[in-house]
């Protein structure tokens, strides 16, 4: 049986110095920028990986980079762990605090500082939500491409920390491909600026290292991101297939034919049923798998591309083809998919896996996934980004039944190992957090991990930044 995930033992000296630390933080921050009453700390005890929770020592909500620097400098001097937090939407526990940690939340730094349409960049504070950038740039015909499902709530700071993806990254790439620069604070309070409106790093590509580092290298307070001209139009088409295998080989053929749609989303039968019951999107219920393929461009371009795609789908025995004639129909097609996590949450507790596999392994991994969940007596629904092999099996369980919860965690671990063994990786876009931390040795050899930790140490020798995450607790050296 799977053991509960461990956190680092709280530092006794920090716990015993709690009152002093809070009083010192009061000197650094305004009254409305510090949370320390246990009852008020509760909202910060976990994130979207709700199976684990820890009350932090205090929560700092700074308003400026200078305040972030002051808090970090203080914590560094006294050896107090720090856990950065955006909107707390992490699915891997990346923002879950620990008892001896000061959480630094970026919610009060939510200004869009500059929209530069000439250079197609936006400079924003880290607490800005993902969607608000596209909202602000939309009137001028631009958008910010990475679109995680939580984009209404999640922050750019969190996106940079996790190198977030989304449904449309098949064409536009993930956060690291759309990030031009950051202002960040290192563990000792040093403020560092990397990149800007220009392209490429002048020296080592530290920006690439920071993006996806899960708050372990510093705290990002500002980001400069790329804006892209909105396409003239976008149109999804929905395909229903008898089996997942047919859907899988259709995906491979679309890509093989040299067509790169903006998105190819896959849902299996359980996912279709759950989403349809919730969103009433009109999904066919007599199929075993469903693909949503979206293309962009002018009307003529989309017509031509969709004709090719439909022809390929027909070769794979597609049962249902639903092309849409209006924006309303298009929205309905997406509505089901986008509500997948919420709809699942209504019928059961679930954990969402995030392994990526090579496209050629999709069918095999799907089959093995259901074998694993069947064996453990669990239900699984698959919703994922098929174009890039990023799988999202949702394992359903009952959180009030500890044995069921433990089985779900066990199934999740087995599925992730399956993804790695099929030539893939543990996490495509959600991050390692605490959730996949203890599986890192399955993907990386000891020397590989040691090298990553050594580079980490160049930023934070003393393991103060989000220290319970990403790297297995044993053998940290």
């Amino acid at each position: 049986m799977t053991q509960p995930i461990k956190f680092l033992e709280p530092r006794a000296a920090v716990l015993s110095g709690r009152d002093r630390i809070i009083s010192d933080l009061k000197d650094i921050l305004a009254e409305d920028c510090l949370v320390h009453e246990p009852r008020e700390l509760v909202p910060f005890e976990t994130d979207a990986f709700v199976s684990y929770r820890r009350l932090p020592l205090a929560v700092a909500l700074p308003k400026t980079t200078e305040e972030v620097a002051a808090v970090l400098k203080y914590c560094h001097r006294y050896g107090i762990p720090v856990v950065p937090r955006g909107a707390g939407t992490s699915l891997s526990g990346g923002a879950i605090p620990q008892e001896d940690a000061v959480v630094i939340g970026l919610s009060k730094m939510s200004a869009i500082l500059e929209l530069d349409f000439y250079n197609r960049t936006a400079r924003v504070q880290a607490g800005v939500t993902n969607l608000s950038i596209s909202d602000a740039a939309g009137a001028e015909g631009f958008f910010y491409a990475p679109d995680p499902s939580s984009q209404l709530a999640c922050t750019i700071g969190g996106n940079v920390g996790m190198n977030s993806g989304g449904a449309h990254c098949l064409k536009y790439g993930v956060t690291t491909n759309n990030l031009l620069g950051v202002k960040m604070v290192l563990v000792d309070g040093t403020v560092l600026e990397l990149g800007g409106k220009h392209l490429d790093a002048a020296g080592y590509d530290l920006l690439a290292l920071v993006c996806g580092s899960e708050g372990q290298l510093g705290i990002v307070t500002e980001a400069t991101v790329r804006l892209i001209a909105k396409p003239e139009g976008a149109r999804p088409v929905l395909f229903g297939f008898e089996t997942s295998e047919e859907a899988g080989s259709c995906v491979a053929d679309i890509i093989g034919a040299g067509i790169i749609p903006v998105a190819i989303e896959f849902m299996d039968k359980p996912a279709i049923e759950i989403c349809e019951a919730f969103a009433k999107a009109g999904y066919p219920l007599d199929v075993g798998a469903l693909l949503i393929v979206e293309v962009e461009g002018s009307e003529a371009e989309m017509d031509a591309m969709l004709a090719d795609i439909v022809a390929i789908a027909k070769k794979h025995g597609v049962k249902t083809v639903r092309e849409c004639q209006s924006a309303m129909e298009a929205a309905a097609i997406w509505k089901g998919r986008k509500s997948a996590f919420g709809a699942t949450g209504r019928i059961a507790d679930y954990i969402c896996m995030d392994g990526t596999v090579p496209l050629s392994q999709l069918s095999y991994v799907l089959k093995k996934t259901s074998e694993i969940t069947d064996r453990l007596g669990l239900r699984v629904a698959n919703v994922f980004h098929a174009g890039d092999g990023n799988m999202h099996p949702l394992i359903l369980f009952n959180a009030n039944d500890p044995e069921d919860a433990a089985r779900a965690e066990e199934a999740g671990n087995e599925i992730l190992k399956l993804c790695v063994d099929a030539g893939g990786c543990l996490t495509g876009e959600h991050g390692v957090g605490i959730e996949k931390r203890d599986l890192m040795r399955h993907q990386y050899a000891e020397a590989d991990l040691a090298q990553q930790m050594a580079v980490r140490a160049a930023f934070d020798e003393g393991w103060l930044m989000n220290p319970s995450k990403v790297f297995p607790l044993e053998g940290r050296g």
């Binding site: 093989g256 990526t356 991990l449």
Partner: protein, 400 residues
């Protein structure tokens, strides 16, 4: 020159040099030797004997190759399957006056890209995973072979552009894309640098997916497509994709450009040759004595930088990346301080000395010197990968 053919041999050589603390010059095909400052090393370690495609399944759009594989081999295999490297790596031989075969390892070690970089990313954006040998002679794997992977720190991208100073690449895995079957280039004639920059930005704001935006002032015009570009400065905008789509987007773009000035339309091979020449910096090829800079700034500032420098030095320049990449050839003196000061004054960016005499390269930092905090951090990172400092010492400056 040491040319191991297996990773274990690489590790043996590096172990030996680390123990003796004797530096190594790290190269692939050595066609990009003009990068950086002089390397202080008696021995050279090359990846050129480590060659071959390890895995390539076109339907997965991913390729894994040994680092010493000639770029030509990779490009031929991709072309056979109508695919390409989206970042369009430039060939440095013409401007650096080098010979030999570029390797795929060299492409990633120098993070080489071309005109499509500003929409499709640099080499590092296509890089999915690597194997390398670090300065402790350990074989390290980073990243993987899938398109989306956030498992741990992204050491692959860190090594991209580190010019062999952090490790010796033995294997690279990268994403490839379908090669667009059609391309057209709209040439807008007669614009000065400032107007051209404005027009390029306007074109990029349209929903037509411009995949190349460069401005070729009158002084360089004759170097492209055998002098066949129309009279005057040429602002060139490339469209790529499926035939019907390119057709439709070209019509839409021309509808707007028609109001800007006279224009011409290039297609097929002529368009492809033009962009290959932009990519390879054709105007400044074969002029070994003149210092050449590659400057990256915000697109809106490129023409301002050139205008400011023209007042004080003999320079010639043309623009890529919507005006944000400036290839700048100096008449005589490299004017490093003047140039770098002007970049700072215009909001930041960086200048890399791509070509200069040995005497110049002995005194001018080839890579833009980093602010203190970043330099300290970079030096610390280097120490974690190459504790004895044996890889290409001096190449990226003395700080790292």
């Amino acid at each position: 020159m040491l040319t191991p053919y297996a990773e274990t041999q690489v590790a043996d050589i590096i172990r030996d040099h680390t123990t003796r603390k004797t530096p190594l010059k790290i190269i692939g095909g050595n066609t990009r030797s003009g990068f950086g400052n002089a390397v202080e090393a008696d021995e050279t370690l090359s990846s050129r004997a480590m060659s071959g495609i390890i895995a390539y399944n076109p339907a997965e759009m991913v390729m894994t190759v040994k680092a010493g594989t000639p770029l030509a081999t990779v490009e031929a295999a991709l072309a056979e399957n109508r695919q390409m490297m989206a970042f369009e790596p430039m060939d440095h031989r013409p401007i650096m006056g080098t010979t030999g075969e570029p390797t795929i390892g060299g492409v990633f070690a120098a993070n080489v890209s071309g005109p499509r970089r500003y929409v499709a990313g640099a080499a590092r954006d296509s890089l999915l995973g690597i194997r390398f040998v670090n300065g402790k002679a350990e074989v390290i794997k980073a990243g993987g072979r899938v398109m989306k992977n956030v498992t741990g720190l992204d050491l692959s991208k860190l090594l991209a552009g580190s010019h062999g100073t952090l490790g010796f690449l033995t294997e690279v895995t990268f994403r490839v894309l379908p090669k667009p079957p059609a391309e057209k280039t709209v040439v807008v004639c007669g614009l000065d640098d400032e107007a051209a920059t404005r027009i390029m930005a306007a074109a990029m704001a349209m929903s037509v997916e411009v995949s190349g935006a460069a401005h070729l002032p009158e002084s360089v015009r004759s170097h492209f497509i055998a002098g066949a570009l129309p009279e005057g400065p040429a602002t060139i905008l490339r469209l790529e994709g499926l035939g019907a789509s390119v057709e439709a987007r070209a019509a839409k773009l021309l509808f707007v450009m028609d109001r800007v000035g006279p224009w011409a339309l290039l297609e097929g091979e002529e368009s492809a040759v033009l962009w290959r020449q932009v990519r390879n910096v054709a105007p400044y090829a074969g002029q070994d004595a003149k210092p050449l800079w590659k400057v990256s700034v915000a697109p809106s500032e490129g023409h301002r930088l050139v205008a400011a420098l023209r007042m004080e030095a003999g320079i010639d320049a043309f623009y890529d990346w919507q005006g944000g990449l400036i290839w700048m050839q100096m008449e005589a003196d490299p004017e490093a301080e003047l140039l770098r000061g002007a970049i700072r004054a215009l909001g930041g960016g960086h200048a890399t000395l791509m070509r200069a005499t040995d005497a110049v390269r002995a005194t001018v930092p080839a890579f833009e010197p980093r602010p203190a905090a970043e330099a300290i951090l970079s030096a610390r990172i280097r120490e974690k990968l190459d504790p004895a400092g044996i890889f290409n010492p001096g190449k990226m400056g003395r700080a790292v």
